[in-house]
């Protein structure tokens, strides 16, 4: 079971002579197998939080636990899948070769068959295609397949569909939920979209900026599997409003 526990975490970057505090006093737990959305104004440290979990750099203070161990051990035992905002594919490799990259680097057999993963993300028949021959949405599917190649226990996604159009994005989200359910991974999704956050997540974590802090944690108690008609539901709208209020605070209050 892979729970992510973040306690007392802060992160500062040195910037020239000074310092910039990206995150302060972060205290959250992502339950094993849950889907969490991180939302907040840009610059509030969402990407930094994901990078801390993925052991790109260590926290300045506090501790992070991924399953039974620290992020470094989790990373080195290939338990973490990461999806960036841009697909970050290697242009000289075809689709399957890109999906196989993590296994090659880890020098182990892929824990999931790259060809099957390609089919899972809806790219059957494009195994041999180069990234330059694919649309943006298709490239991002490859990136998701690659993140799943070693059957990660933790799936971190940094605005993965931010660059896609609304229609493609909605469709990709539905598929992502299906893939996540099937994989059993603990998922953390950074997003700018309130409705996306509510639609996808069990829990929406709202962050505020300067320095980045958790301003509110909203549990979304809506049935799964989530279907598009849920968006018409009054409960869905009330969750959206809760997130909106957490984000905009007093600006959202009805004037007296």
């Amino acid at each position: 079971m892979t729970e992510i526990a973040i306690s007392g975490v802060s992160k500062s970057f040195s910037l020239g002579k000074g310092e910039i505090q990206a995150l302060a006093d972060i205290e959250i737990t992502f339950p094993s197998g849950s889907f969490t959305a991180l939302i907040g104004p840009s610059g509030c440290g969402k990407s930094t939080l994901l990078r801390l979990i993925a052991d790109v750099f260590p926290p300045t203070t506090g501790s992070i636990r991924v399953g039974d161990h620290g992020p470094d051990a989790a990373r080195l035992s290939h338990e973490i899948g990461f999806v960036f905002q841009d697909p970050t594919l290697l242009p000289w490799r075809n689709v399957v070769e890109n999906v196989r990259l993590p296994a090659e680097v880890a020098k182990i057999a892929p824990r999931r068959d790259p060809a099957a993963l390609t089919t899972l993300v809806g790219l059957a028949g494009f195994e041999e295609a180069r990234p330059s021959q694919l649309s943006g949405g298709m490239q991002q599917r490859v990136a998701i397949a690659r993140a799943l190649a070693l059957d990660p226990k933790v799936l971190l996604m940094d605005e993965p569909f931010g660059a896609l159009d609304e229609i493609t994005r909605q469709r990709m989200n539905m598929e992502l939920l299906r893939i996540w359910k099937e994989s059993g991974a603990t998922a953390v999704l950074v997003t700018h979209s309130i409705s996306e956050a509510v639609f996808m997540a069990d829990t929406v974590v709202v962050l505020s900026a300067n320095p980045g802090r958790v301003s509110e944690v909203i549990s979304v108690d809506l049935p799964r599997p989530r279907r598009l008609d849920l968006m018409r539901d009054a409960r869905f709208n009330s969750y959206e409003n809760k997130v909106r209020e957490a984000l905009f605070g007093d600006d959202m209050k009805v004037p007296a």
Binding site: V56, F82, D86, L90, L101, G136, R171
Partner: protein, 268 residues
């Protein structure tokens, strides 16, 4: 599942059409070279007749052509020597420059320590350090190669360093999250991204490489085309001297053309 259609991938011409096109391009190039040669020869002959230039100042094209034919063996031997220095020097410079640029990705501290030294070496006039090089490496091929290395190293290293730094942060982060070692990231991401840059460096270096090999021969007396030109000149064998000049110019142009071609193939 069809969110967006893929970009058309099958618009490429067939193998046959492609090779036909390449053949046609080669033909155009050959015609171009022939025209240039004819124009040069005509202008040359014209200038000598019109300005009444004496044969001991500049020979006419015909006697240079004769020298080319009569001295083919000597020219070929000298050219082979200079070519070995050129190719050997550029190859060695390539290995050194890519290795050092690669080391720079390992530590910015290293680059800050080494770069000033390299730039100093770069700015030292070859003419001034030549006696030292001859003292260390002798009057043979080694000195020629070392001179070519010194001249070629810098453009290759600068371009390789830029190339190694060219992958986006996300690509490097991806490798890190996958648990990649420095070496894995280097070979799988940095090197492929850097290849077009490295070829640009080779092209820039090769432009002056033949000339540097000849410069080394003028200073050391090693038996290449540079020395042939110098000796022909001091024995007043002007047609032979100009034959040497023509051969070295054609060689340098051909090498440059080859690297341009390689660079273009790679960056497609």
């Amino acid at each position: 599942m069809a969110d967006t259609a893929p970009h058309q991938a099958d618009k490429r011409p067939s193998r046959y059409a492609e090779s036909q096109e390449r053949l046609a391009a080669l033909g155009r190039f050959a015609r171009f070279v022939a025209v240039v040669l004819v124009v040069v020869v005509v202008l040359w002959q014209g200038a000598i007749s019109l300005l009444d230039i004496e044969p001991f100042v500049a020979p006419d094209p015909l006697s240079v052509g004769q020298a080319l034919v009569q001295e083919t063996d000597a020219l070929a031997v000298a050219l082979a020597y200079t070519l070995r220095s050129t190719v050997g020097g550029v190859a060695l410079a390539l290995v050194l420059a890519v290795s050092i640029a690669g080391l720079f990705t390992l530590s910015p501290l290293l680059s800050r320590a080494l770069l000033p030294l390299i730039i100093m070496l770069r700015t030292a006039p070859i003419l001034a350090i030549a006696p030292l090089l001859i003292l260390i490496f002798g009057r043979g091929q080694t000195t020629s190669i070392v001179v070519v290395v010194i001249v070629s190293f810098f453009p290759i290293m600068v371009n390789a360093a830029r190339g190694f730094a060219s992958p986006k942060a996300n690509a490097l982060e991806l490798m890190h999250v996958c648990g990649a070692s420095w070496w894995q990231t280097f070979t799988r991401v940095r090197v492929p991204f850097a290849l077009p840059f490295i070829f640009t460096g080779i092209r820039m270096a090769s432009a002056g490489a033949v000339l540097s090999a000849m410069l080394a021969e003028w200073l050391s007396g090693a038996p290449g085309i540079g020395t042939l030109i110098l000796e022909a000149s001091s024995f007043r064998k002007l047609p032979l001297m100009w034959a040497g000049v023509v051969v070295s110019m054609i060689t340098a142009t051909a090498i440059y053309g080859l690297t341009v071609w390689m660079e273009r193939r790679l960056s497609r």
